[in-house]
Symmetry: C3
Subunit: 447 residues, 3 copies
């Protein structure tokens, strides 16, 4: 399978989305080879690459630091790992895939019979050609992951095992970048940085948010946008612990992961269930066929939104994905590679995220200046002059909905919700109506 760094086939995506998708894909390709974990050099190198795009600030928090009910573990250092069969051939080699080594394995240097070794080998019998991704962060264990088909080929005999790792006092690192808006309120955008060579989960999220941060430099916004790139669970907990005094400024937020494939899209609501971000996500569309997002209620299983939505914080933070984690066969296997994610999907996902941000930024409340009956839209060039058959194009319907509901009590988001139309369409139609002098902008709705 040859790797296509740019989507070249004709696409119905807007050209700038495709350009952006290609840029995101190129960044994901740079991030993919690194062996990340919840601590260590891979995380620092990843943050370094993101620093080529944005002025990211790296925070290093020492091992042993208490973080709520947790403690930052020793840093994990990997120098190599392999298994040699009785003939001395390397049958597993960390050099070939960093998924081969159980993440956070303790060092081992031993010879043992195959039967004993097997107790330390993880495979996926139902997906016999794929290497699974397994972790053992908070325990002292060792192991290897490999394709089940390869395991089946191993002959009986004595195997030589080398895991050249070390756990030593070091740091947990995370990256942070702030785009400053005019208000004191912040939108938290979060991606986990701890996964090794897995493309969709979550090189895609890291790359998309980084390109978004770079893109936003040219935008003036109401909200500030705080981008956080941190290891799963312990990373978000560490960020929460160090920022606890200022969490009141977090007005909205969402976690981004698995945004490079063509599935979904899926949005999981925050614990609050009806936060502004939850409502806007439900009025958002994605991709050339403008699919509505599948909206799931909050549940306490998932990514780092679990921590932001724990009862002690209860922040309005959701989870945005294309295919939902755990539901696609490539999930947490060697098949989640750079062929699985595509520039056009990254481009669509970028547009979806941008539309959500536009929703946060532009939820104004229109007032119909001609509220008695409909205004004569054809006078303003907003309605066809020849009638008789259905003229309910999306734009025309958006005009009618806005005019009907623009009675001071409804923001554009309220109108999008009641009409069932995308927020972006309602916002564009409202701009037309304001330009035509048919509605007045009463200022912003809920923020």
């Amino acid at each position: 399978m040859d790797r296509k760094e740019d989507a070249t086939e004709a696409s119905p995506l807007p050209q700038d989305d495709l350009v952006m998708g290609n840029a995101i894909y190129r960044l994901a390709c740079r991030l993919f080879p690194l062996c990340r974990s919840i601590t260590g050099q891979g995380v620092r190198e990843t943050i370094g690459i993101l620093g080529d795009y944005i002025a990211i600030e790296r925070h290093d928090v020492p091992s042993g630091t208490r973080v709520f009910d947790w403690t930052i573990p020793d840093e994990w250092i990997v120098r190599g790992a392999w298994v040699k069969d009785p003939s001395g051939r390397k049958v597993i080699d960390f050099e070939k895939s960093n998924l081969h080594l159980l993440n956070y394995s303790i060092p081992v240097r031993r010879v043992m019979p195959l039967a004993e070794l097997k107790a330390h080998i993880f495979t996926l019998p139902a997906q016999p050609d794929l290497i699974p991704y397994k972790t053992a962060y908070y325990t002292d264990a060792w192991g290897f992951c490999m394709a089940h088909a390869e395991l089946m080929k191993l002959a009986e005999g004595e195997y030589e095992i080398c895991i050249d790792t070390e756990k030593t006092a070091g740091h947990l690192s995370y990256g942070e970048y702030l785009h400053t808006g005019t208000s004191g309120k912040e939108v938290l955008l979060y991606a986990h940085i701890c996964h090794p060579s897995l493309a969709n989960d979550n090189c895609s999220g890291l790359a998309l948010l980084t390109c978004l941060a770079a893109y936003m430099k040219s935008r003036k916004t109401y909200y500030s946008y705080r981008f956080v790139f941190a290891p799963g669970t312990i990373g978000s907990l560490t960020w929460l612990a160090r920022n606890e005094h200022r969490l009141a400024t977090i007005a909205q937020g969402f976690v981004v992961s698995c945004v490079g494939d063509g599935g979904g899209p899926n949005y999981k609501r925050s614990r609050r269930g009806n936060a502004l971000i939850d409502r806007i996500a439900a009025c958002t569309r994605c991709g050339p066929d403008q699919k509505p997002l599948n909206i799931a209620d909050f549940s306490p299983y998932g990514y780092d939104e679990r921590q932001f939505c724990s009862p002690g914080f209860d922040l309005p933070v959701g989870l945005l994905q294309r295919s939902a984690f755990g539901t696609f066969p490539e999930y947490h296997t060697s098949a989640d590679n750079l062929d699985f994610i595509r520039p056009e999907h990254l481009g669509s996902s970028f547009r979806m995220v941008k539309d959500i941000i536009d929703g946060l930024e532009s939820n104004w409340t229109p007032l119909n200046l001609s509220p008695k009956g409909e205004p004569q839209l054809s006078k303003y060039g907003l309605f066809p002059t020849i009638g008789g058959h259905k003229v309910n194009t999306d734009r025309t319907m958006a005009y009618l909905w806005i005019l009907n509901l623009a009675d001071r009590s409804n923001s554009l988001l309220d109108i999008a919700e009641r009409s069932g139309m995308p927020f972006a369409e309602i916002a564009a139609a409202a701009a037309d109506l304001e330009k035509a002098g048919l509605v007045e902008n009463l200022g912003f709705g809920e923020r």
Copy 2:
């Protein structure tokens, strides 16, 4: 195709519904041939025919009158219109169908090649034998409508075109009839009068409401019933403008259209969504098979309920139809003719409208006089004396529901809603129970 003015085949409709259906059909047949528009002689003649049934009052409002964001246009006069082919044969003739002429066409008298003429001809390629209905009210355009199959037969060459029309200062006319009840509250019943030879849309609505008005002469009612027959959009706006000072008396209302076919029935809620009329419609059934109405939420696209439900008025006015406009293939074509509507469907629709009015008039609140346990219904002849298998006939179930819920807090409508039974069934059962002395009438519920 021969026209059947009376439905003679056996029908499970109640006999008086069939009689009424035939009467409505006969009136629709009288209205069908006239060339109506939003102004002009056709509207006045239509109101004249309705005047044979009820003491309708005609209002004539001069061209140029400002109506909110609109202006009443010049009156449109048609004397004739045709197209002759190079051999001098009339290939389009307004005399044969008033749909052939683009409604509100400006006058034209020219010779031109077929290619040039075609830019002014509207057809329906997917329904090649039907003439479409098209309008150009608020612009200066001209055109013809014809069957696509006929257009295909036209040979190249020079065509002679005659549109003998005129736009001149005149009037917009509408008709109004009031049935006076005992309260000061009014129910608005509205049908648009502007369509030329289209039977379901809306000769059926005009005829049904007129026959209803005639029928109600013999009834004493709580509400007054205001029947308005006016051109679409500009007509309802004109009525609203001239009655703005007294709109507070409009307690409920609905627009009636497309009530002559066997589809649906469909009810679109008012903008308020939970008006009494909306709730009653949802508890109404239609036709021999007692179909529940499909209930749609309000949307700002449709007929004149758009104007009544604009934010400056927000009247509790819904839309009642059999097949919903725009969804049936005959809609706005020459196939919407007197064969498409049937007396039995008009009769069922009449019964449905009458049931809704009965609901408005008779939503009383019962009190169970024997509220501790069920009363022994068999003592009163309201329950079978031999038991053992299911006896939950509709009427029995209605007794049980009423007795169970008649605790002062529920009107008959509340009971119909919670039980899922038709209001008419609940009302009939409540009458039985009152007669048996088992419930007391506490007076009227919501009105």
Copy 3:
């Protein structure tokens, strides 16, 4: 078909549920042969058998006693009933099945031609081999029930008829048993006792509740549990009339019937709709495959919950069944026999009832003592130490839901409802978390 008094095949039911199912089945077998009615010896004998298990108190209320809108009828005594064909052969005999006699038949001793007799014979033409169950409690009628196939075999001629019954002043009897808890609040558990030889409806309910009452002797409870075994309708009305002054103590309750087959389970909400019992039933599961209960809204047709939920009482009393009455083909026929009900289903039903009671008894409110982020569950042995693939077992998910929602505002029932998990699973997980010191018991929620 041979009768299996014990389920011997391997079953995934917990062993103690199976033991209990067998015990319930044995009791149902004792109750089945008796000819019960709404009064009379059969009811007294039934209460006598239940008295072998629990200290049941029998109440005898005289015929003629006024009970709200009803009057307790004379007692019905049956000594025998048969029909002889022209050859003198008994073609119907009460001795063979007590269903053969229309319940509450008046005495008859006559000879008549078949044609005349047929007007008094009830059959089920669609189920030609089954005898229907029919009643004529509050009227003076006589009749027989038989298999339609048997009726078809009868030859013309004179038939001799003997119905040796008597209606005479006597008593309506019902049984009552109280398990006393620590609070003054009572849970009402009701089964109707009036049906003759019908196994599921309702020997199953009588037997299950009796075994439950016996089982509860060893339990200390918050609620008192009042078990009432009374004839349908007139029995529950009589109990209500005699206990009207103390109905305020009834905090919750449900009627139990048809709990011996493998269908459903079904729960019908009380009239209030959101009583604690209604909410707990919706979070309960049944049987080896842990089926959620089908939850139906209250309706006024059914068993004795109709009386408890009449507007004069409005008690929070639901109806619990496996297959819903009237929906299974064996209902009210001779096929509702001891082969139709099975020990394993009775065992599952018992567990379901017990789980509901556990829900009533143990709806405490947890407080997460580590509310900032998730606690590190693996430290407490509550989470696997090797990660990477989905670990959302039921128990793990229950931990996460409880921790997420344990913010003082949610009881275990609230948590079960929002998570969609069974109350029993949430309660078990909460016990683990309390033991681990992760949550504190704030006391009981709604009771």
